[in-house]
């Protein structure tokens, strides 16, 4: 066990540290994006990197997302390991063609001859009072694109570990950073970051016997809060943090649901065509005989992301989660 004092650190600091350590460990790691240089990114995640590694390693690009990702593809083709920053979720859309038509399938097109080891960091999700186009949950688009890994941390330690794993991966990784967790703090020792599990492993954040909340990213903390509040109702909820949407950890999720017999999927993304539908279907296909109730979803409404003064009505909160838990056919047990 480490004896170094463990101090609180923010998720943004852990991400910065991950980038810095990756750049120090491997000369081929290059960071590029809008305002990532002197400014350190609008969320300061690239703070100090240009100063420490030079502008050729941490590069302010012209303001054009398709160009940023497209040139990163060429850099990866030449053997570099680019880490691209998209400034906001909704500003990543111009890069969508590069992502779908090239990033996700270059390995496949070339029968494995030309893998693209590149990471696309995307700040995503709401809850920060952002105006229009600053709060989208775009994960379903990425999940629907074969060839991409899609990961999202919910804790400071995971932010570090998952980003290191993403950069080390020989596959392209869409790394979704929950904006409202950038300033969340955990006790985390940057001098002794815990080794990270490979991309693709979910984790049980809270053990419980009554029902499983399946969630990820910004909704993990909400689910933890809901699980605490549920004790008053006599429910002992388990919380599974997926960490990785692609690949999906059926094993951990289904083991939990088989134990509890009930499940609710919680995410900010819209319900229709969102990740919850896929997750509910997978759980139902695999755990049908263990289920006491249909798998329910608590999600954002199927509306364009609301203006900031209305977003609290949109985002899944503790009450909406508890309402869903209450609908898991408990009467069958009594």
């Amino acid at each position: 066990m480490s004896t170094v004092a463990v101090r609180p650190a923010t998720m943004a600091q852990a991400l910065t540290r991950a980038l810095r350590d990756a750049m120090a460990a491997d000369d081929s790691v290059h960071v590029l994006g809008e305002d990532v240089g002197a400014l350190g990114g609008v969320f300061r995640v690239t703070d100090g990197l240009a100063e420490e590694f030079g502008e050729d390693r941490c590069t302010d690009t012209p303001l054009a997302e398709a160009g940023i990702l497209g040139t990163a593809v060429g850099m990866a083709m030449y053997g570099l390991r680019p880490v691209v920053e998209m400034q906001f979720d909704a500003f990543a859309y111009p890069a969508f063609e590069q992502l779908v038509s090239h990033v996700s399938r270059m390995r496949n097109r070339t029968r494995g001859a030309m893998p693209l080891p590149l990471t696309v960091r995307v700040p995503y999700g709401g809850g920060i009072g952002g105006v229009e186009h600053h709060s989208d949950s775009s994960e379903a688009y990425y999940m629907a694109t074969p060839g991409l890994h899609v990961v999202t941390p919910a804790t400071v330690a995971d932010a570090y570990g998952l980003l290191r794993a993403a950069i080390a991966s020989d596959d392209p990784v869409v790394f979704l950073e929950p904006k409202r967790l950038y300033w969340s703090k955990d006790a985390w020792n940057p001098e002794d970051p815990a080794p990270v599990e490979p991309i693709g492993r979910a984790v049980v954040r809270r053990s419980g016997r009554s029902a499983t909340l399946i969630t990820y990213g910004p909704s993990v903390a909400v689910c933890m809060e809901a699980a605490e509040a549920a004790r008053a109702e006599g429910w002992d909820l388990e919380v599974v943090d997926l960490r990785s949407l692609v690949p999906f950890d059926d094993e951990t999720v289904c083991a939990s649901v088989r134990r509890t017999g009930r499940a609710v999927v919680v995410h900010e993304s819209g319900s229709f065509g969102g990740p919850g539908g896929e997750i509910a279907a997978r759980v139902t296909e695999r755990c049908f005989h263990h289920l006491e109730a249909p798998v329910l979803r608590v999600a954002g409404f199927d509306v364009p992301y609301p203006p900031p003064m209305l977003e609290r009505h949109h985002l899944p909160g503790v009450d909406r989660i508890l309402d869903a838990v209450g609908r898991l056919q408990w009467e069958a047990e009594s």
């Binding site: 502008e55 012209p62 398709a66 160009g67 040139t71 060429g74 850099m75 893998p115 690949p247």
Partner: protein, 386 residues
């Protein structure tokens, strides 16, 4: 010292009075496309280069004809012919050094073959047994790119990466006149100029984007003029004059190699065939127009020059034709063999390691194939299951 510092990047000084970093005049293309064949400049051209270009043009023309025939025989799903554009295709490949990279569009199979890729491997995409039939790193040729202009930023990123590593590498990226309207064209040129990346952009202006003529594509004085807006030189060349295209591209490659940054070259040429075998060009253009361009055919122009200067005789021309026939016969014979398909390959190269979900789907397909084989429903030309 960073790349940005080396070239003295433009920084607005307060108060922000904008000064153009570059004098636009030297960037502007000449009003008339550059020509060599049939002009006095031709006397300076290297006879050996002219003969090499000729052999490649004749081969290229034959390749286009053979590939088009293969579509009619059901051996290719589709073929976008570059007949009439062989001078651009060949010159683009020949100006590059071993370590350089070529970024072709879907119409540039000829350039890919001229660069040294096996003619059958170059057609894998269009035959349909796999997307890219060659290893891009082996010949430094990026995959033939179907989404228009999307490979241009790749060329910029690759050339930039090479320069950061201190490697002597130039990237040449090919695009058509229609592709210049795409956002990726704009972004690639802008990034290339800002980074001073060693890239040459070759626009083959063949008159049409499938059916849409250039007049509906741009209001610019020429496509080469677009370079000025990015701060790079634009060059206009007769795309059917193989010696001129070679000279202009070679200059641009030298310029890039010497650290001078990117160049945009517009080669004015003509797509003699329809867009692909699936297209009907009579719906949007007349035969008279096509006939005019046949008079300005790249092989004809070069043959005239070579003959006039006594650089080739009837035997030489016959030798070029025979070489092309041999290539076509080999291509035909190999393309008439059924490709060996491996359905299980579908799952092999999606990720470095298949996800659990793909492993499940792979087992599903394996079971389906085994059931088919047991029922004798399928002749299974795909080869043995692994």
């Amino acid at each position: 010292m960073t790349v940005m510092e080396q070239r003295g990047a433009y920084r607005p000084s307060p108060p922000p009075a904008w000064q153009p970093r570059t004098d636009p005049a030297p960037l502007l293309p000449d009003p008339e496309p550059h020509r060599v064949l049939g002009t006095e400049a031709a006397a300076q051209a290297d006879p050996e280069l002219l003969r090499t270009l000729y052999a490649h043009l004749v081969r290229g023309r034959r390749y286009n004809a053979q590939a088009t025939a293969l579509t009619k025989q059901g051996r290719l799903a589709v073929y976008p012919s570059s007949t009439g554009q062989e001078a651009c295709e060949v010159a683009a490949a020949l100006v590059l050094e071993e370590q350089d990279w070529l970024f072709p569009s879907y119409r540039d199979t000829l350039a890919v073959v001229a660069r040294g890729v096996d003619p059958v491997q170059a057609l894998t995409l269009l035959r349909g047994d796999w997307h890219t039939g060659y290893d891009p790193r082996e010949h430094r040729v990026a995959p033939l790119c179907t989404p228009l202009a999307t490979q241009l930023p790749h060329a910029v990123g690759l050339a930039h990466a090479a320069r950061l590593k201190g490697d002597d590498v130039v990237a040449l990226a090919m695009v058509g006149d229609g592709g210049t309207s795409e956002g990726d064209f704009h972004e690639a040129l802008n990034f290339a100029a800002v980074w001073q990346a060693p890239v040459v952009f070759l626009v083959q202006n063949n008159g049409f984007a499938i059916s849409v003529p250039l007049a509906k594509q741009t209001a610019a004085p020429s496509l080469a003029h677009k370079a000025v807006g990015y701060g790079m030189p634009g060059r206009l060349v007769d795309g059917n004059d193989a010696a001129a295209v070679h000279e202009v591209l070679a200059d641009a490659v030298r310029h890039a190699r010497a650290g001078g940054g990117p160049t945009l070259v517009e080669a004015i040429t003509y797509r003699v065939d329809a867009h692909t075998n699936a297209d009907d060009a009579t719906r949007y253009r007349g035969d008279a127009e096509v006939d005019t361009w046949r008079e300005h055919d790249p092989i004809l122009l070069l043959e005239r020059e070579l003959t006039a200067r006594g650089l080739i005789d009837e035997d030489g021309m016959r030798a070029a034709r025979e070489d092309a026939e041999a290539m076509a016969a080999d291509l035909r014979a190999r393309m008439h063999q059924d490709p060996v398909l491996e359905p299980m390959d579908l799952f092999d190269h999606v990720y470095a390691e298949p996800t659990p979900q793909l492993r499940e789907q792979r087992e599903q397909l394996r079971a389906e194939l085994e059931a088919e084989a047991e029922a004798g429903q399928s002749p299974r030309p795909e080869g043995a299951l692994r």
